[in-house]
């Protein structure tokens, strides 16, 4: 499973070309996981899998086939079928030429231990969480997974890229025995040694105990202090639609301008807000190129690079794939992945101390877009909502549903901590005013 092996298989596919171009993506993934709940291990698994996607392209037509059959015959079938599909397709009026050779950045996101770890290597971490739960009379549930992915892309024009990455994730929920408190903590890293189940279990347990027997607070507008996981959940929604230049140009987005056009160059957030894609940042996962997918359009295969989407509160760049960039006369960009929201210098304690009345939010759950034109989202607080009064946390609060736009949240910022990894993004905790909650949730 290395670069040469991927290249050999891909070249074998490319050699089957008869006419037109072929584009190939090969992904091999090995993953291993342990689930636990009710203070015991429930299910665990180990999976080796592979997927090959072949797109045949010629003169405005393309057809794509995906298979996990990498035998010689399987490769031939995939190419034959892709070509057959291509030749049945009408001409695509938004066709872009096959990508010429690209220069991809080298990203170090692989850890050998993350690939080798098996059930026995994860067991001590899970045991630490279960032991802590027993000792503190809590009920633990969680997930521990390590995986490695090797991905190669290539096409008939001579482009080739290879990337290997690992991913380790541990998350844990600790619920109190009376069912009134619940805490959660999670961490991700490409490196197995950097995920510490014991400290995460302690954090979840503390949150669970502190959140028990919550007090009802009325829905309404609150100053909120959003912990990094809550910020990440809101900010990452911007990837899917809001930052699309096409959606904005076509009048379908929060960044559309009244009367037509987009809001590039306008101040859309507080001046402290800089939001960028940074594949070079070691603490966020990234691929060397823009991945194929329903949201990536014709940006697929473009080298990933640093892009500032919002800089000092001003909308600087919007995601434009190769087709839309060509149509509207801008440089194409990679998909807005690997998001980094620059933070401030305050501590979480200082943000709390400076708040007369507000709510501290651990994380959000079930976020959905309600109105794409304002990017209003709805969702709920979960696993620790706390009332702040006169600079101090005074009580756990019953969970609330919010209806709010992250764009408004980023305009109303009153303070930020430094950015830390959260939900595979790098974001700060944020204090923001007038965050709207619309109803109470009885869920714990």
């Amino acid at each position: 499973m290395d670069r040469d092996g991927a290249k050999q298989t891909i070249e074998r596919v490319l050699s089957l070309r008869k006419d037109g171009d072929l584009e190939v993506e090969l992904v091999a993934r090995t993953s291993s996981h342990t689930r636990f709940a009710r203070n015991e291990i429930t299910t665990s698994g180990f999976v080796e899998d592979v997927a090959l996607t072949v797109a045949a392209r010629r003169e405005g037509r393309s057809g794509a086939v995906s298979t996990n059959d990498l035998s010689s015959e399987g490769l031939k079938q995939a190419v034959t079928r892709a070509v057959e599909l291509r030749d049945l397709m009408p001409v695509d009026p938004e066709w872009v030429e096959t990508l010429p050779p690209q220069k991809y950045p080298t990203l170090e996101k692989y850890d050998r231990e993350a690939e080798r770890a098996r059930a026995g290597d994860r067991a001590p971490g899970v045991k630490a969480a279960l032991t802590l739960a027993d000792r503190r009379k809590l009920t633990a549930a969680g997930f521990f997974e390590n995986s490695v992915e090797r991905r190669g892309i290539a096409n008939s024009k001579g482009n080739f890229g290879f990337h290997e990455s690992s991913d380790v994730e541990f998350s844990v929920t600790m619920r109190t025995s009376d069912g009134t408190g619940s805490g959660w903590a999670s961490a991700y890293s490409p490196r197995f040694s950097e995920v510490d189940p014991k400290s995460l279990a302690r954090r979840a347990a503390d949150k669970g105990v502190e959140s028990a027997k919550p007090r009802e607070v009325p829905p309404g507008d609150y100053t909120v202090i959003l912990e990094p996981d809550a910020v990440a959940a809101l900010v990452q929604t911007l990837q899917f639609g809001a930052l699309s230049k096409r959606a904005a140009d076509e009048g379908r987005s929060v960044f559309s301008k009244e009367g037509g056009g987009n809001r590039i160059g306008e101040k859309v957030a507080h001046e402290a807000v800089t939001l960028r894609t940074d594949p070079m940042e070691p603490r966020v996962p990234a691929m060397p190129w823009s991945a194929p997918g329903p949201f990536g359009g014709t940006a697929s295969g473009l080298p990933n690079r640093r892009v500032a989407w919002i800089e000092k509160g001003v909308l600087k760049t919007m995601f434009a794939d190769r087709y839309w960039a060509g149509k509207t006369g801008v440089e194409p960009t990679p998909f807005p992945a690997s998001l980094v929201l620059e933070g401030g210098r305050e501590t979480l304690d200082a943000l709390i101390a400076g708040t007369d009345r507000g709510l501290l939010v651990t994380r959000f759950w079930y976020i959905r877009t309600v109105n794409p034109q304002t990017w209003q989202l709805t969702g709920l607080t979960r696993d620790g909502l706390f009332l702040i009064e006169k600079g101090k946390i005074t009580a756990p609060a019953v969970n609330l549903r919010f209806n709010e736009s992250p764009v408004v949240m980023l305009q109303n910022i009153e303070g930020m901590t430094p950015a830390v990894p959260a939900g595979r993004l790098l974001v700060p905790a944020i204090k923001s005013r007038e965050f709207t909650f619309t109803s109470k949730s009885d869920a714990v």
Binding site: Q8, T9, S44, D69, R401
Partner: protein, 534 residues
């Protein structure tokens, strides 16, 4: 013009269901040896399956099963949008055909589960991965509080196939694109429509299950799901609206796409999206709601479907999807809805998306009550968890979305029975003084114990003085599951009942998807909180 059929495709590959090809291996590290070109014949599947079961037994496993499955998906898409510079319509087609094949083996050893899966389906790999599954179970057995207990099951040697007339993989992609093009052209005849996106998903699951309980089961499941969405926009006011038409997604053949009324409904859909764009915002407040099946299906799914999953109620999903307000102490005692609310779990309902012969525990599928006259009477269960509520057999709700996924409890078809008394949509509406008629799915969100929810919709009409009026916009309603279902005061009769399929329900860690249907009649709910989402 017709595309190559699935059978022609297999023939062109030089493979048949009976052939075992020893293909030349590709050199290099990415080699995946595929012993089977097509889905193997029954005796070959049994031979391969026996390798896992024998290996598991020899290593001391108390239970083992293997699934050797093949999946095929074809997604056909056509997006029609005006060109940015010329304004002429760009019809952008896309077809992606995906296929995968592999096995997953599950064992119980020392009272703990182990699971391993691979896309390499040969005897050596099956034996190796079975040993891996046993090793996992061994490593984790000491972190079990008590051994896994499986409810009884009858050994079955059986087959099941989705009844269908026209295999969707036998229909050429050109025909499919032509239907989407005709639909798009028809929608676009309405002035004010900006773009149209049509989509058809077709799925095939060929499943083989074999267990140490003596079951050998083969199933062939076919699902189709067509839809299209029209968009209208107003650059001056910076507003945009969409309207989606979804004929029922079903277990069945291409005939359901052909008779799904795609073209016949196109003008209406176009007119409604344009009207929606011009419609005034709702005045928020407490209102009565008349919900059409196309909308109510998702509300049933989120509020009743997920809250009556036993694994959630017992805490198995506490770290991700959440738990449930319907804890086991409420079984048989807690009133979720009004007297008229009768809800069933069902994996035998014809055409419904979760319907099959056997679940992934090898249990024969069935129908079972969930709410009876509003009372909570039944959970969705799997073999491992039935004993938690004193039952000695499961309700056959075990499913894995891939050979590479661990089977666990998934939602069956969960449907609301029609009202017993004659009641048309007009009857439902006529009793409403100030209300809203909601059609189709919109934004949806519910808390992690399935109490508080907020649902939007796809199209809204005002109801005033017992009559349906003009379209309104920016509507969502909020409620709490028991409050909402107890506010149900009239169900439409069977003539208003419709089976509505949902095909992308997510659950579990690692995440898996699932498809099921939620049949229901048009229904009326009193005094629900409506908010404006402008």
């Amino acid at each position: 013009m017709h595309g190559p059929s699935r059978r022609e495709f297999l023939r062109s590959c030089g493979a048949s269901a009976l052939a075992l090809a020893a293909f030349e291996m590709v050199p290099g590290a990415f080699v995946v040896r595929r012993a089977e070109a097509a889905y193997p014949a029954p005796d070959r599947l049994e031979t391969l399956g026996s390798v896992a079961l024998e290996k598991a037994r020899s290593l001391g496993a108390s239970y083992a099963d293997i699934r050797i499955n093949r999946y095929r998906t074809q997604n056909v898409l056509l997006r029609s949008t005006p060109d940015w510079t010329t304004g002429t319509i760009n019809n952008v087609p896309s077809v992606v055909d995906s296929e995968s094949f592999g096995f997953g083996v599950r064992v119980i050893h020392g009272g703990a589960w182990g699971f391993a899966a691979s896309a390499v389906v040969d005897k050596d790999t099956i034996a190796r991965m079975t040993a891996e599954a046993v090793a996992i179970a061994r490593a984790h057995a000491r972190l079990r509080r008590e051994p896994v207990r499986l409810a009884k099951v009858s050994a079955a040697k059986d087959t099941y196939s989705t009844p269908l007339v026209k295999d969707p993989f036998d229909v050429g992609v050109a025909d499919k694109l032509a239907l989407l093009q005709e639909t798009s052209d028809e929608v676009r005849k309405v002035t004010g429509v900006f773009s149209v996106t049509g989509f058809m998903e077709q799925r095939l699951e060929e499943r083989f299950f074999m267990s140490t309980d003596g079951s050998v089961i083969r199933q062939r499941i076919v699902q189709v799901a067509p839809e299209y969405t029209a968009t209208a926009r107003d650059l001056k006011t910076r507003k945009a609206k969409t309207r989606t038409y979804r004929p029922d997604a079903v277990c069945g053949g291409y005939e359901f796409i052909e008779k799904g009324g795609l073209v016949e409904n196109a003008r209406r859909v176009g007119e409604e999206v344009v009207n929606h764009l011009k419609a005034p915002s709702v005045s928020p407040g407490t209102k009565d709601l008349v919900l059409l099946p196309t909308h109510l299906a998702l509300t049933i799914h989120e509020s009743i479907g997920h809250s009556t999953e036993l694994d959630r109620a017992m805490g198995y999903e506490a770290n991700f999807a959440g738990t449930s307000f319907l804890t086991p102490d409420k079984l048989g005692k807690f009133r979720v809805g009004s007297d008229m609310v009768n809800v069933f779990g069902d994996r035998v309902l014809p055409q419904a998306l979760s319907t099959c012969g056997y679940d992934d525990d090898g249990v024969k599928t069935k129908r079972f009550p969930i709410l009876k006259s509003g009372l909570f009477v039944g959970y969705q269960t799997i073999r491992e968890q039935a004993h938690f509520i004193g039952q000695d057999e499961s309700t056959a709700c075990c499913y894995a979305d891939s050979y590479a996924s661990v089977p666990f409890q998934r939602m069956p078809n969960v449907w609301l029975a029609a009202g017993e008394k004659a009641a048309s949509l007009d009857d439902l509406v006529s009793g409403v003084d100030d209300g809203i008629l909601i059609d189709g799915r919109g934004s949806y969100s519910i808390d992690h114990q399935r109490y508080n929810f907020q649902f939007g919709g796809d199209a809204f009409r005002e109801i005033k003085g017992g009559k349906v009026g003009a379209m309104i916009a920016d509507v969502a309603y909020q409620s709490r599951t028991p409050d909402f279902w107890q506010a149900c005061d009239l169900l439409g009769d069977q003539t208003t009942w419709q089976n509505v399929g949902l095909n992308r329900d997510g659950k579990g860690e690692p995440g898996q998807i699932n498809a099921m249907s939620h049949g229901c009649p048009a229904s009326r709910f009193r005094g629900i909180t409506v908010i404006r989402t402008e």
